[in-house]
Structures are given as C-alpha cells and as structure tokens.
Assembly symmetry: C2
C-alpha cells in the first residue's frame, strides 16, 4: 500500500516506523522542517520525505494519507492536497477532537474518516517516535454516521464503508484497540477524561498561587508533595494543547465543566452542613467509581 504521512512528530513518526516494518508498504512523509525529514528517513519512519507536497511524485497513486499535523492545520492541509489526489485516496487524521474536524473534512474530501489514536509518551517530536506506540492503546474511529450510513445515499455509503474498513484495518494491524462512535460521542467522552481534567487541574494550581498570606503561600510551596504533584500534573502541561482542547472542543468541555461545578458545589454544601457521613459516603463512591475508569 502507498501511504502518506503529513506531519512527522511523535504520532506521525511512530506511525511511520510501524508502517515501514511491513515490506508491502511504501511510506512518504511531509515535514516543514528539513532536519525532521532527514531524521525520519534515517530512523526508517518513511521511505521518502519532503518539505512540500509538490515534491511527492506518487501523490496521485497514494491509497491512504494520515494528517498528523496540529489540529488547526488539519483542514487547511486537506484543502491543499485535495486537487492532486486520485478520488480513491482515503484521508484520515489523528486529531484529539472530532466534531470540529469531521464535518468540515468530509465536505473537502468525501473519503475522509476521522480517527484519534490515544497514545503518547512524555516527549514530542520525531526524535520521540517509537515502534509499537499504539500497541494495546485505544484508537477511536469516528465515521460520520448521519452523512455516510443513510440508505438513500447508496454510492456514498459504499465508498465510505470501504474507507472506514481501510482505516480500521491499518490501526488494527498496529495493535490498536478500536472503538467506533460518532464524532459527538468521542468529543464528549474525551471532554470528561482528558479535557476537563486539564482545567480542573490548572484551576487548582491557579487557586493555590493566589494565596495572599506570604507565610501560608511559602509553606504550601514547601509542603506540596505527591498529592499535589499528581493532581496538578495535567494543569501544568503544554499550554497550547490545553488551549486547543478548549477551542476545538468548546461545547463538550463547557458541558462537562458545568456538571463539574454542580458536583463540587454539592460537596461544598455537605462540608458547610457538617455532613461528615455524607462526605465519607461520597468518597467511598468515588473510590469505587474511579476503578471503573482504570481497569
């Protein structure tokens, strides 16, 4: 299969390394950065790399293109390459939000299938790319069921089902655990377990920082330990990633934040009412319920 990867960072690079292991694949890559192109070739993440799409001679013969750019560049990239592709080419992405991408991407390219492989390590960039990064990790594929699976659009249905099968098959071959759902269900789920935690955690850091008594502020800094470290970790992460979560998953994030506020307010009311039995019951529930998320 002829495969293109646009954006050679941690995800694009790791994807390329896995795909290049299969001798039946030919993989080309695009990065704006020349040294990234050189590194990608050297580490066998691609067979050929270039800084610009015009340098890819096999563009019209490519079967599958992965867009692995930052979220904001996904749609412009599809618009840019669309004129040069065969109509059979399937485009997919690896963006962490799906509603904001999938609807618009399908308008640009009808054989687009959104996906979100949930894998990573503590680093970024091509130098952090690793073999087997997606092994055993979830990959959510988000066919736009409203557009593609209505019986009235038989042709569209056929072509999209075929595109969906291709994307599913490739991720399965890399060992990913596949989930399929609508873009909205994906965005709501990641709002809960990935985007909400960032703002809950960042607000903790910010609130602690606003302590005005210098003795208390200084003591808190010296006493902070593993509890604060873990709870504040994602709130102290990459600011641009956090901004994109909010910007591109605004609706689902706001819904989860509003629900969170109500839950927090209920706990505060229990403390104000000296309802210690109620607090212990709440924390007994959360102890049990947490394990349902982390089996």
């Amino acid at each position: 299969m002829r495969i293109g990867i646009i954006g050679l960072g941690l995800i694009g690079g790791s994807l390329g390394r896995d795909l290049c292991l299969n001798p039946e694949n030919y993989v080309w890559g695009i990065s704006r950065n020349e040294s990234t192109c050189e590194q990608a070739i050297a580490m066998q993440a691609v067979h050929f790399a270039a800084q610009d799409i015009s340098q890819i001679s096999q563009l019209s013969q490519t079967n599958l293109i992965f867009i692995c750019t930052p979220i904001a560049a996904i749609l412009p990239t599809i618009a840019q390459i669309a004129p040069y592709l065969s109509p059979q080419t399937v485009i997919t992405d690896v963006g962490s939000v799906k509603v904001a991408i999938v609807d618009a991407a399908e308008k640009l390219w009808d054989r687009f299938i959104g996906a979100h492989p949930m894998a990573g390590n503590a680093f970024s960039g091509i130098q952090a790319a690793e073999l087997g990064l997606f092994q055993g990790r979830p990959c959510v594929i988000t066919p736009n069921t409203q557009v593609n699976f209505q019986g009235d659009f038989q042709d569209n249905f056929q072509s999209s089902l075929d595109a969906l099968n291709l994307v599913r098959q490739v991720w399965q071959s890399l060992g990913a655990v596949i989930y399929e759902c609508s873009p909205v269900a994906h965005d709501c789920a990641v709002a809960w377990i990935s985007h909400l935690p960032v703002f809950v955690s960042a607000s903790l850091i910010q609130a602690c920082t606003e302590e005005v008594n210098p003795i208390v502020a200084d003591l808190a800094k010296h006493l902070a330990s593993s509890g604060f470290r873990d709870t504040s970790r994602v709130g102290g992460g990459n600011p641009q990633l956090g901004r994109y979560m909010a910007e591109y998953n605004r609706e689902a994030l706001l819904l989860s934040l509003e629900k969170y506020q109500l839950v927090l307010q209920a706990a505060i009311a229990q403390i104000q009412a000296n309802d210690w039995q109620g607090i212990e019951e709440l924390l007994t529930q959360t102890q049990v319920n947490r394990s349902a998320f982390l089996d």
Copy 2:
C-alpha cells in the same frame, strides 16, 4: 531518653524503628491490637509494647510521648494519660490538622507541642513501617504562639520553649526538614496542597460518573488514561482520611474551595467568551507556577 509512642501504625512504627537505633533511647509503645504489639517488638520499633497504658510501668519517667493515633483519638488519649505523667513530660502528636488539636491539647497538657511529619508510603499499618521514612521530608511544628510566647506568661513561655526545643531536636535527629508556624498557617497551607486536591479530584470522578448517555459513559471508561489516572488519584483514596480532612480542617478547606470555585468560574467565562489567547496565557502561568510548588 525515655520515649512513648501511642498508636503503632505506619508513622508510629517508623518513628519507633528510627528512635530504637539510638542506644540512649528506651521506647515503649501502645497498640490496641496484640499482634501489632508483637510485631512492633519483633521489628525493633519498640523495646516494650502493651495494649493498655496501665501496663506501662515507666509512664511517670517518660520524657516524650508521641500520639500517633487517628486524629479523632488524639485528644481523648491525652486526657486519658495526663493523670499518670510527670509534669515535665512533653506530649506531641503527628496529626495532619493542627488548629483542632493544638488549642484543646494545650488545655489538657501545657507541655504539648503539635507537629505534623509529612511522610508516608503507599501502605499503612506497622508492617509498612520503614527506617528513615522521615529523612529529608518536611515536619511542621506548630507552637501555639498566642498562648505560649506572650511576655506576660514568663513561666509558661520558658517551659514551652524547652518542650518545643525537645520536639524539634528529635525530628531533626531523624533527618526531617523542620518548618515552624502557627497552627492556623499550617492548616491553611495543607488545605491548599493536600485537602483541596482531594475534593477537586473526587468531584472529577463523581462528575464523570454522572454522565447519563450510556455510549459516552462507556467510551469514557475505556479511554481514560494517565491524565485521568493522575488527576483522580487522591479523590479515589481512603474515604475516612478524606472525611477527617474536611471534618477537622473545615474552615481552611472551605476557604480554599471557595477560592477554587472563583478561579474555575473565571476559566469557564474565558472559554464561554472564546478568549483563547486568555486561556493560553492562563495555562502558561499555571505551567510556570506549578514548578514553584515542586522544586
């Protein structure tokens, strides 16, 4: 020195193991559990152990007593042992809240000095006791300056200063990093970095659990990963410990929760207003500020 330890769990047991290394110390311990007494002697956490204070023949010759019981038992324990002690005996505790303990404890025993060693491991009980547990860890000592350091109470000042010196010296000998402050400053600081995170984190678990759409709820459980794991860890901890934090540090915890709500509301307002630059600036600040707590 003759030292008593009442409550032979992780903290009491670890304290005893360190103190027994010094041949000049004689250490007795109390646990309600007979097998804990046997284990404490076997692992050299104490020289002698008993289930009841009446079995401690050296009680009136003891120089320093550590109360290492759960918070709720600290004051009743002091009231119980006070009649049998020499007036020179110093009593200290290891409780994680101080205002609720120190004022009342001083009324029961004027040579009481509150302390809070901030150390632990993932386990509890005497079997988890380890040598050097307090090495390099903070120990906050909370002399009640209002009562003890006013020039008008010269006698009280002298005796308490001497008691304070003794408690400081023992913790220093175990390698702890000593901080001294008022009980209120201690309770406010631990509310920020230890008790607030528990309720922020528990509310995250609870909010995620209340998702009503079964597809989203199920997907969220499967997709939860390191971000959710870390942010939810302390909210899924020991429910009784969490309850005691709220019950015994109610005022400081409520202040920090109210501040937290305001900070969270401000972030929500930025998202509602599509103020993405503002969100990125907030997250840039929290990234920088977090490191001030974790140097």
